[in-house]
């Protein structure tokens, strides 16, 4: 209960002002495509030089929390996920926005974010020692199986057919091999300087999601303007509250998946949203509605990616190991003030540690209030005529992919992947499985190589990868997940085959 003692600190005028600045600024930065939470926090580090340690961390913590939630804005309104965490949000969120329900989608996403986020921070406050052990429990073999589990999700994620989902996942896995191999330094498929560092995930995300839309808008651009203008439904906030809390299943699956997966160093943040989306889809009786603007999809994805924020800081705050790139930047912010995360932080600087954690808690609430406030206004973006919208999205896509590492190479990658994706989409492939392959490929590969090096030196590959309770549990989940997908596909086929047969009979008779 130590954290309660420092609650007052958050509400001193300067601290609260910084919290407001961090939250609003973070929402704006997060809503800008290409500015990932990591970069937003890195941009703010120089401003903390002149502040007290606790004040600097309040700014950084608020920015981290709200950029993750802000990413949902561009994911929903423009179908450009700001970071890998927001991929799953585009699936149902953007469909809702296209139907004129942007305000509803945004309200749901901010409310779900706040619920997930507050839960995540509470976990950080109460269960840190337990969680630290959990974060350490994942060695190379476990991370390998976890990545494979992610791969099994590919088939069932947002795709008309399992086979097409798997095929686009394979394209993603191949794209992931481009560049220098992470461990051995071998060069693979480097046919142009722009890809010598591999395909940048953020640039790929922007291209794969935004460019097919832009091409589509240009293709339809000749239609008379009047026909396209949507009526944007306004949506009372009280209704959004009701809806979020009536979707308890999606909310709890999202929050739980986000907090558990978010904790695992190096893997969690990127796939938490997608795994939560897939799980709540599989467990929902209305699973056919997912992808058509269903509220459960938005709620699961957004509660998961904000639930991850708190637990993702556990390895940093307790063990002094940054578990994610954003945590690494926060580590820099602490070190500049001479504070070492770990026991030093909680024993010698409890005021800094707890003020920081408390401010993330308050930040979640503030973020939600501001988000709800602007949701109605922001949703009007859907009324912008297609011709204008296409130009704006294209501009943002170029700006976003360039700003990742100030490189035109990333812009070329973005444009090339996006154009390719336009044609793939016409054949019924979708971008989400492809991106998942791109993200999971390196994780599976690097951990397999590392694991087998350790296994060769100590025991054998068989016993290293296939024994131990955690390995076996993960393998069992993988098998169950594949089995479920196969069952779904078979049932679907029998169903369609029967329907076709009936239709044929009717036609011939």
């Amino acid at each position: 209960m130590e954290f309660l003692a420092y609650f007052g600190e958050v509400f001193t005028p300067i601290n609260f002002g910084l919290l407001l600045i961090g939250t609003i600024g973070g929402l704006l930065l997060g809503a800008t495509p290409g500015l990932s939470p990591t970069m937003a926090v890195a941009l703010l580090i120089p401003f903390t030089f002149k502040l007290e340690p606790a004040q600097g961390l309040i700014l950084l913590g608020a920015a981290y929390t709200s950029t993750v939630a802000g990413g949902a804005v561009s994911a929903i309104l423009l179908k450009i996920p700001g970071a890998p965490a927001n991929i799953a949000t585009t699936l149902d969120g953007h469909t809702m926005a296209k139907k004129g329900q942007g305000a509803r989608a945004l309200q749901l996403s901010f409310l779900a974010s706040a619920v997930g986020g507050v839960f995540g921070v509470l976990l950080l406050i109460f269960l840190t020692p337990v969680l630290a052990q959990w974060a350490l429990a994942f060695g190379p073999s476990h991370l390998f199986w976890l990545a494979i589990l992610g791969v099994t999700v590919i088939g069932t994620l947002d795709s008309s057919s399992v086979v097409k989902g798997l095929l686009s996942g394979c394209i993603g896995l191949w794209l992931a091999t481009i560049g220098f191999d992470d461990i051995m330094g071998a060069q693979r498929f480097i046919f142009h300087d722009a890809v010598s560092g591999g395909i940048n995930v953020i640039a790929a995300l922007i291209g794969l999601f935004a460019i097919p839309q832009v091409i589509g808008m240009f293709a339809n651009g000749r239609r008379p303007l009047g026909a396209e203008i949507l009526t944007v439904e306004s949506h009372p906030i009280s209704k959004a509250f009701g809806e979020v809390f009536s979707r308890l299943r999606a909310l709890s699956i999202g929050t739980a998946t986000g907090s558990i997966i978010g904790l695992i160093p190096g893997v969690g943040g990127q796939i938490a949203g997608l795994v939560a989306y897939d799980q709540s889809k599989k467990m929902s009786p209305e699973r056919d509605k997912f992808g058509t603007g269903h509220s459960e999809g938005v709620i699961a994805a957004e509660s998961a990616n904000n639930a991850m924020v708190g637990p993702s800081l556990v390895p940093l705050l307790t063990l002094s190991i940054p578990g994610s790139p954003t945590a690494a930047v926060l580590l820099g912010g602490l070190l500049i003030h001479g504070i070492f995360p770990g026991s030093d932080l909680f024993d010698n600087h409890p005021d800094v540690a707890w003020t920081f954690i408390n401010s993330m808690l308050i930040g979640q609430v503030l973020m939600c209030i501001f988000g709800l406030y602007v949701a109605g206004l922001a949703a009007r973006v859907a009324q912008v005529p297609n011709a204008v919208m296409a130009a704006v999205v294209l501009g943002l896509a170029v700006f976003g992919s360039y700003s990742v590492q100030h490189s035109m190479g990333d812009v070329y990658v973005m444009a090339a992947l996006g154009t390719g994706m336009y044609f793939l989409e016409r054949f019924g492939f979708s971008a989400a499985p492809l991106v998942l392959g791109l993200i999971l490929g390196p994780i599976a590969e690097a951990n397999f190589v590392q694991g087998s090096m350790i296994a060769n030196a100590t025991s054998s590959i068989g016993s290293y990868f296939f024994t131990g309770p955690l390995n076996l549990a993960l393998i069992a989940t993988v098998v169950a997940s594949i089995g479920y997908s196969v069952w779904l596909e078979l049932r679907h086929r029998r169903h369609t085959a029967k329907e076709e047969a009936v239709a044929k009979n009717e036609a011939t008779s």
Binding site: D182, G266, A328, V329, I336, S343, Q405, H406
Partner: protein, 320 residues
């Protein structure tokens, strides 16, 4: 008004003659390319040592950090050697022995000749760490274990052809044992996690990160891969003191360089000003607070150091 005319006249002369422009250098903000991601040790230190660049007694213009991470630094240095403009407004951070070892290994488009050093700001030696509850208490315990179990002593490091890998090769050679070096794909932080989680028996890591992990009570530090003990860890003996013939080839030197072809007057000006910028008291206190050992060297000293490393590393890597 007078000022306006004066500055207009100056702008004209600057346009007219390149030599004159060098006198006014720098006229706009400068960019420093770091070939590691935001938040890493190199990035963190680069941000601190350049924070006073805008002062009147330094360059008078701020330095902005640009990250070009990937493939252990190869992406950034390839870019710096091939595409960066050599006009003095594009600086790069170097990591020795990383980029020299990578150029000896091959597959990259740079070597020590592609760059002109300006000044060195830090020297972060490699150290050998084991988990806090490990049975090893000295380097001799580690080597005895390795001698009894050839090839079974697993230890982590930040990757291949970086300082940690060089240290591992030196240890193998000096102790005459066979070890299992496990390169990590997430750099020093990932390698440290592997040690703390006991995925491996030990690890080579940066002194600054190991110092922090020891403060947090997670690891023991058994030896420093340097010629002398370090101020941050006066109680930890060097490898040499423990009977292994290992020099400072693996020490991670960090500093600033420019691409080959940058005008000589600009190089001279930078070489004169940048070391004084590093020596600023505010910089030193921030670096010390962050647990980052400083080691300021001038351009001439760095040129010598690069040459010496090139020779030592060619010899060490020849056997691979």
């Amino acid at each position: 008004m007078k000022n306006l005319i004066a500055s207009a006249a100056m702008a004209l002369t600057a346009l007219a003659g390149g030599a004159l422009a060098d006198d006014n250098y720098p006229e706009r903000p400068i960019m420093l390319m770091v070939s590691y991601g935001a938040g890493g040790a190199t990035d963190f230190q680069a941000r601190i040592v350049t924070m006073t660049a805008g002062n009147e007694d330094a360059l008078g213009m701020p330095i902005a950090i640009i990250n070009k991470p990937g493939a252990g630094g190869r992406v950034g240095w390839n870019w710096f050697a091939g595409q960066a403009e050599s006009d003095g407004y594009t600086l790069g951070a170097y990591n020795i022995p990383h980029f020299i070892a990578q150029s000896i290994e091959g597959g990259v488009s740079y070597s020590a000749d592609s760059f002109e050093p300006i000044a060195n700001w830090g020297a972060d030696p490699a150290v050998f760490v084991v988990a806090a509850d490990s049975e090893f208490n000295s380097m001799n315990d580690v080597v005895d274990y390795a001698a009894a179990n050839p090839g079974k002593l697993t230890f982590s490091g930040a990757g291949l052809f970086v300082g940690h890998h060089i240290a591992a090769l030196q240890l193998e050679k000096a102790a005459g044992v066979k070890l299992a070096y496990i390169p990590n794909n997430q750099g020093g932080a990932g390698a440290m996690k592997a040690v703390i989680a006991r995925e491996v028996l030990g690890g080579v890591n940066n002194l600054s990160d190991a110092f922090r992990a020891r403060e947090a009570g997670n690891v023991k530090i058994l030896g420093v891969f340097d010629l002398e003990r370090n101020d941050f860890l006066p109680d930890v003996p060097t490898l040499k003191e423990q009977g292994f013939d290992i020099d400072n080839s693996s020490v991670n030197f960090r500093g600033v360089m420019v691409p080959k072809g940058t005008p000589q007057p600009i190089i001279d000006k930078l070489a004169e000003v940048v070391p004084t910028m590093f020596a600023n008291g505010r910089v030193a206190s921030r670096m010390k607070a962050g647990g980052s050992p400083m080691h300021i060297m001038t351009r001439d000293e760095v040129i010598e150091m690069w040459k010496a490393r090139e020779v030592a590393l060619t010899e060490l890597l020849a056997g691979l």
